[in-house]
Symmetry: C2
């Protein structure tokens, strides 16, 4: 596992390629939550999500030879854009496998950032096969969006910045999908929090992390029918040990609570956030009796949403 | 007219009651505009618009006796909320005349901020009569949302902050409705800009300011059928002389250009802005050949929009 000194150096190294995102507050949302809530706006991060941190961190860890051969990933979401831009910034070729069903706007974004797209059938087997084929042909390094230590460390730098600006935070909440952001956050809280704990939040309809913590082994989602499309994935062997060790609790929220929280963030913070991003604030409103008196930090994970197709 | 020293003191005095709003940038929007564009986010201002600055400034200019009797205004929009909150912060009674047709969400916002609402028929005559009646009964001071020097000075503090942070700006663009923000901006640019000019922007469908500058006298809107609902009003005798003297140009934009600019700001800056707020960026895209090579500052005026009822 990384030391604090190495983690701090990694943060410094990626800082050239990422934004130091602002923290927002709202008197009115504090009123609704009945406590002080601070929002770390990774929706303002480059490519619109925290994934830019982990993608950059993972690529900086590559050798010169590996960089020359490039990186490959399969993603229809925020990681595809993050890998494309991080690779472009570092002069590394990026091969992105995307399901043919991915929205054109997402394909266009990847192209804009310079990623080379390979389309495949929209199922996980086809995605993995296409990525493997590219790996064999090009020698590119496969980057996993969440189950990779260097990715996890990169994602953790958001919480590091958060605590540097607001060392008084009692609890930091992050959404949990694949587990990279939550594991990285818990690591950073361990390094820099003064009596601060980390809580993960996920939809009831994709509650693998909650059940994994309960059973002590990686569980898989039984349903993934949630509006929080970034949280449908499951934990991995690299991030689960960190989560098991350092995360105090995983809270689950209902779909209507996610939509309500998302709308409040739009209306009151005047910012665009995607459904997955609203999940931790939904937990704060759902369990406000338990949070009362604590200064809460929420990592707003991303803002890549189709504004023509909103759930409210 | 105010001196720079008085203006600076006024800014200091209202600073306790307002946010110093952040400035955002987007690589992608710079690419579209083919120049550097800086966005001063008054949509993040208290009550969601720059109007909080002018309302506070006007109230701080009242005598102790006037403050005790309170303030009255008629508005269905951002000024109603701003007056309500500014009055609450200063312990001043606020009487707000609102048309009965105003959306419930706006009435609720005013109530939340402590404003005392009087409903009237939805026409300007009924609004003015209701406000006059309250003035007579309570002795409250009438506050005009744009044609009041202290309001104008307050609105100008956004441009003052903007130039303090980015003294290299060549042009600052602001929307023009009643003229308070544009006049205040031009004043601040005069005080603090180094070779910086001020440009106003309005819809073709409410182009009174363009025609007023052309004719040299206050003109009125022939149509107000624009999505930019904050820009339907006309200039007044307090702000027009400042605008005539200090504003380089007024640019007009089409409705579809406003909607396109608004959508780009949502998608790329990840922020919620109202249609009136997107008008200056629409002008930048419309006339990019003329702006090329200039560092542009845009005052994003507000973010109070019904997210259930978007034009895209």
């Amino acid at each position: 596992m990384i030391t604090e000194k190495e983690f701090s150096k990694l943060h410094k190294d990626i800082s050239t390629y990422i934004h130091r995102t602002p923290v927002l507050q709202s008197r009115l949302l504090n009123g609704l939550a009945e406590t002080e809530v601070y929002f770390k706006c990774e929706n303002f991060q480059k490519t619109g999500s925290f994934k830019m941190r982990g993608a950059t961190s993972a690529m900086l860890a590559l050798t010169a030879e590996e960089r020359e051969k490039g990186v490959v990933t399969h993603s229809s979401g925020n990681f595809a854009q993050a890998v494309s831009l991080a690779a472009k910034s570092l002069g590394i070729p990026a091969y992105i496998v995307m399901p043919s069903s991915a929205p054109q706007v997402k394909k266009d974004a990847v192209k804009t950032y310079g990623g080379k797209i390979t389309e495949c059938d929209p199922n996980i087997k086809a995605r993995e096969e296409a990525a493997e084929k590219i790996q064999k042909e090009t020698g590119a390094t496969f980057l996993h969006p969440s189950n990779d230590l260097n990715v996890i460390y990169g994602q953790g730098t958001a919480a590091k910045e958060f605590l540097a600006e607001f060392p008084e935070l009692d609890i930091i909440l992050a959404p949990v999908g694949g587990g990279g952001l939550l594991a990285g956050t818990a690591l950073a809280v361990d390094f820099y929090g003064e009596d601060c704990t980390t809580i993960g939040v996920e939809p009831f309809k994709a509650d693998d992390a909650y059940r994994s913590i309960k059973s002590g082994k990686i569980e898989f989602n039984e349903t993934t029918n949630t509006i929080a499309d970034g949280l449908k994935t499951h934990l991995g062997d690299k991030n689960f040990p960190v989560i098991k060790d350092k995360v105090a609790e995983v809270i689950r929220v209902e779909e209507d609570e996610i939509i309500n929280a998302m709308k409040l963030l739009w209306e009151r913070l005047k910012i665009v956030v995607e459904p997955s991003c609203a999940v931790p604030f939904a937990a704060v409103l759902r369990e406000k009796e338990n949070f009362r008196g604590n200064r809460l930090g929420i990592i707003l994970s991303g803002g890549n949403v189709d504004v023509n197709n909103l759930p409210f």
